[in-house]
């Protein structure tokens, strides 16, 4: 399955929207850089993510922390460190970055 990475805020770009349209059940989504804003609880994008329980959704911990979002993320988004990012990249057969 593919690993999809999104590095743009959903308020700025349609990267996440398009990614979610294409991501197949069972694939993995990693939010990084400004992509982590998509996970802020209660936003439209967070609801979209919550509705995709068929995806494994992660946010990069250091990008979440840098933006002060630690208390704003819902529990269905798992935080990931860099070694976890590397592990995901290896486990998935290909990576598609949405930028």
């Amino acid at each position: 399955m593919l690993l999809h990475t999104v590095n743009k805020s959903p308020h700025q770009s349609d990267a996440l929207d398009s990614c979610l349209r294409i991501a197949a059940a069972g694939s993995t989504l990693l939010l990084l850089e400004d992509g982590v804003y998509a996970a802020v609880a209660g936003t439209d994008s967070e609801k979209q993510l919550a509705a995709r329980s068929d995806l494994a959704c992660f946010a990069l911990r250091s990008d979440v922390a840098a933006r002060g979002l630690q208390e704003l993320l819902p529990t269905h988004i798992q935080l990931l460190d860099y070694s976890g990012f590397v592990k995901l990249s290896v486990e998935c057969h290909a990576v598609q970055s949405w930028y």
Binding site: R21, I22, A24, S27, H93, Q96, W98, Y99
Partner: protein, 137 residues
């Protein structure tokens, strides 16, 4: 004077037949706003020239690349529509298009150049998982 010879050189180039991979390019950039559209087409042509199995999926602003009447005479860079027209010469016959991106831009399939096939959401999800490699431009 004899020509110098290089040992180990095969006239036909390296044999890539056993390294043939399927490659999907997801093209999401408008044709002249930046260099990404051109880079995507260049990669498609290069990969196809090396006998790789290349497919192109146009979505988001990449849809605009498919308008057939592009006149880039007074714009820097090559005409993207003409480059896309050359793809069948490289055995890239079908151009895949995201239906939602088209609808949002008020475009109908008949307005696009090339031999396009429109995919809906469920078709897209199955489609993208069928490739060895995926790259976005």
């Amino acid at each position: 004077m004899p020509m110098p010879t290089v040992t180990g050189w095969s006239h036909s180039g390296p044999d890539v037949s056993d390294t043939r991979k399927s490659l999907l390019l997801i093209l999401r950039s408008s044709p002249y706003g930046n260099g990404l559209a051109r880079a995507g087409v260049d990669l498609a042509l290069a990969a196809a020239a090396f006998d790789q199995d290349v497919s192109l999926l146009f979505m988001d602003e990449g849809i605009w690349q498919l308008l057939p009447q592009q006149d880039s005479a007074h714009t820097p860079g090559k005409n993207i529509a003409r480059l896309l027209d050359s793809l069948p010469l490289y055995d890239i016959e079908t151009l895949y298009v995201d239906g939602t991106s088209m609808v949002r831009r008020q475009l109908e399939p008949g307005q696009l150049g090339g031999n396009t096939q429109v995919l809906d959401e469920s078709e897209l999800r199955a489609f993208v998982e069928g490739f060895d490699q995926v790259m976005g431009f």
